[in-house]
Amino acid sequence: MATTDIVPQGAGGQLGGNRIVNDMSIQVATVNGSGSQSSNTVLLRAIFQMGVPISGKNLFPSNIAGLPTWYTIRANKDGYIGRKKEIDFLVAMNSETARDDVMSLAAGGSVLYDEPLALNKLRDDLIFYSVPYDKIVATVCPEAKLRKLVKNMVYVGVVAHLLEIEMGEVEKAIRKQFAKKVKAANLNLAAAQAGFDYAKANLQKRTTFCIERMNKTAGKIIVDGNSAAALGCMFAGCTVVTWYPITPSSSLVETMIDYMKEYRIGPDGKATFAIVQAEDELAAIGMVIGAGWAGARSMTATAGPGISLMSEFAGLAYYAEIPGVIWDIQRVGPSTGLPTRTSQGDILCTAFLSHGDTKHIMLIPSSVAECFSMASEAFNLAEQFQTLVFVMSDLDLGMNNWMSDPFEYPTAPINRGKVLDKDDLLKLGGFARYKDLDGDGVGYRTLPGTEHPAAAYFTRGSGHNDKSNYSERPDDYENNMERLNRKFETARSFVPRPEILKGDNAKIGIIAYGTSHWGVSESRDQLRKEYAIETDYLRLRAYPFTREVHEFIEQHDRTYIVEQNRDAQMLSLLRLDIKPELTTRLRSISHLDGLPLDARSVTDELTMMEGK
């Protein structure tokens, strides 16, 4: 069954004879629940093992099986691992979306499709490769019911041939993927090999894209942000995890359960932790606060709807001054929104979560390495400042595969903050819970169970004086609120500092945070190369803002705030914080389609606003 596809006229982009090496995006369109995740991971790993920087992004529906799913692998020799807007190579496995998938490609792209779909009729400016998957899979998989699962591995072999990915690396990746199932590994390997052999015998490569071995991934790891966070929390000394399942945060706790069971069981077989699935997010944060009050390093992980539910308790923790760590793996809101798409839409509501004058510390990781390292920072800050710390990750970071240097073992010791024990109380005789003895706004606390008659104090969300007694006195209320503010101001000097990259005498500044970093980094290079626009760049890593943020805005004629929400939420927070005369220097670049931010969108928007 040889392909009869003719090289179309006009499909010149990839036909010029110039090989495009290690710079492409491959999109695999499948149906969720069809086992394509394994195939995509194998493809990703095989390229990674050849030393080429990669990233893998899963665009999936809120559904268990039967709806369309797209997986995009980007390979890039320069290390750009944000989303690429254009798709260069489409693997069309889903009949329902195939037409749209093909129609949306730019001219010159390549399409690999299941023969019965006959997609080559749709356009004449693309390169088509047709593969009879069912026939191929029948020869390697006698068991009919397994064929559906193995079918996807056939395209891995075909793609390997067309893009010159070494089959030795494909085999290695399959063996890793099915490490504990030799039979499954063999079956999948046979399927991939059959695809490869078919392609070799029947398809004439016309695509100019190819993968060549290089050495940019040596020693690196591939991991998703939620797993990185789970690992980080384990090394942060977390002892209590309470949670309620919600996409896209569930895998954070589920991975943590695995890690904790493996590495945090004592020699007596007993757990040095407790992980409890709560009845809802209200209970999840309530348990975090109860545990934090009683001295545990406690945390939960959630997403927007959970954040909304936690609002009341967040105010209690702020006002009664109780530590805890909340991971918000942001997804698209409002309400249920798009539960499986990415966003940075919880920034503003989380900063001020709850009624009254409430504000919270937020840490914002951009990378899997920061998901790991900020876990320890978050717990230390929470206990140092006796307050909740929100770690604002997102679906793109949390659930997608990212290449990274291996994580560094935490160097800062675990800081339990100002906690008085029995011996301290024997010396002091007593203490006032909310008295600001050190001028930093942070009082001393004791833990329930401390064996001293003066250890106890009364924790309440109602008005209180510095001895934690009930008080409705105006001066007690005001003094307490001012002290809480002082504490927040102190935190400015302790939260992670921004990362600043200076260009050459740039008049334009860009501020971004979280996963917007990847699109912005690549966009800055595009701006320099294509438009000769120099930019300075500040990557925010925390709220409250540190001194450097104010200076950065002051140093530039105009500063673009790039973020993934409609209402320019971080820009709004900045506007509240900077000198009024500087507010006119801020410009917003918003991205809100639920897809990870790509560089081209930033470049286009910024150049348009610059009048280029």
Partner: protein, 346 residues
């Protein structure tokens, strides 16, 4: 450091006097049932010789939830948010399994806004004592019906309650609480005995204590008034309690008295006032509660005890030392663990 004045006449088994269990001055109304319950808690904790520093007092919002400020000042206390005390208690017990958790809630705090957390607390069998100070009415917001108000009960304004009550005891038994009873704030002896048994129990103790609101719900036509309860109380058992540190020197007749051996070795003796009532029979307990409801009785006593079921803390298989105070050497794995985890991801 505990200082014992030389003139102190009476101390308990750990050398503390009853003053060491006192709290602040109550700000509740004179005659409020809740104050009597606070007194009984003080007595029971003193009599059982519980170290006050080991006790964590927990509450939600409402008149009842203020009351932890009025007993046991030497215990940590957490007056949290409305209806959510169970999650705070759960978190605290996860952090420190050695605490004696004592929760005080109200009927609004439990049966309306807090019913979600209440039912899940019951099914976890978390070791804690959960007291509902039950007056059928919202006091702090000045007299609205709660979800435990009986059908046909009347507010001062003349408004009749037209919805059936939630029986928190029946619910607790059905869901898995392992010590469930009802008492009356005016019944010193019964409530004190029940509280002591509660302290001896390891698992969720749910005590619904009818505690009249003298300001808003103690009038003619209310089913939660002192008079109504006195007129309609049906008591299942006459109970006595022998703590583990005292010898049993009263004989009892196995035919008329059920003796329950509590987790700490104490004995709760229940002399049956109703023949054949077996407090270890879950189904019978729910049936009897249902009958009481139909007959308009205020049924009191220990409805159900199960000393065999594992508690939530048992099920979590945690180390003996409280998680809260585990040192870094235990909670942060070594470099070799990170290296192994990195290798898996390469």
């Amino acid at each position: 450091m505990v200082t014992t004045p030389t003139t102190q006449p009476k101390t308990n088994r750990i050398g503390l006097s009853v003053v060491d269990y006192k709290g602040g001055k109550t700000t509740l109304c004179a005659g409020c049932g809740h104050n009597a319950i606070s007194e009984r808690i003080i007595e029971a904790m003193y009599d059982m010789g519980v170290q006050p520093e080991r006790v964590a007092k927990l509450s939600g919002i409402g008149c009842s939830s203020k009351s932890p400020a009025y007993f046991m000042n030497r215990s940590h206390s957490f007056n949290s948010v409305h209806g959510r005390m169970p999650s705070i208690a759960t978190g605290a017990m996860l952090a420190n399994r050695n605490l004696v958790a004592l929760g005080v809630s109200g009927d609004g705090d439990t049966a309306s806004i807090g019913i979600g957390q209440f039912v899940h607390l019951m099914r976890r069998n978390l070791p804690m004592i959960y007291i509902i100070e039950d007056n059928g009415v919202y006091g702090l917001t000045k007299s609205q019906f709660s979800a435990t108000a009986d059908l046909g009960s009347k507010l001062k304004s003349g408004v009749l309650n037209d919805l059936p009550p939630i029986d928190t005891c029946g619910l607790a038994i059905e869901l898995g609480a392992t010590f469930v009873g009802r008492s009356f704030s005016g019944d010193k002896r019964q409530l004190s005995t029940m509280l002591k048994a509660a302290i001896a129990h390891h698992g969720t103790v749910m005590l619904d204590v009818v505690s009249p609101c003298v300001t808003f719900n103690d009038h003619e036509g209310s089913t939660k008034s002192y008079k109504y309860v006195q007129d309609h109380e049906e008591t299942l058992q006459e109970m006595s309690f022998v703590p583990h540190f005292e010898e049993i020197n009263v004989e009892y007749d196995a035919g008329t008295t059920t003796s329950v051996t509590m987790h700490d070795g104490s004995h709760l003796q229940l002399r049956k006032l109703e023949e054949d009532y077996d407090p270890t029979d879950r189904i019978a307990a729910m049936k009897r509660l249902s009958e009481a409801h139909d007959k308009g009785e205020v049924l009191t006593g220990v409805f159900y005890v199960n000393t065999k079921a594992p508690s939530f803390i048992d099920m979590l298989n945690m180390v003996d030392q409280p998680l809260a105070t585990l040192p870094e050497s235990i909670t942060r794995p070594g470099r070799e663990v990170l290296e192994a985890a990195m290798e898996e991801l390469r």
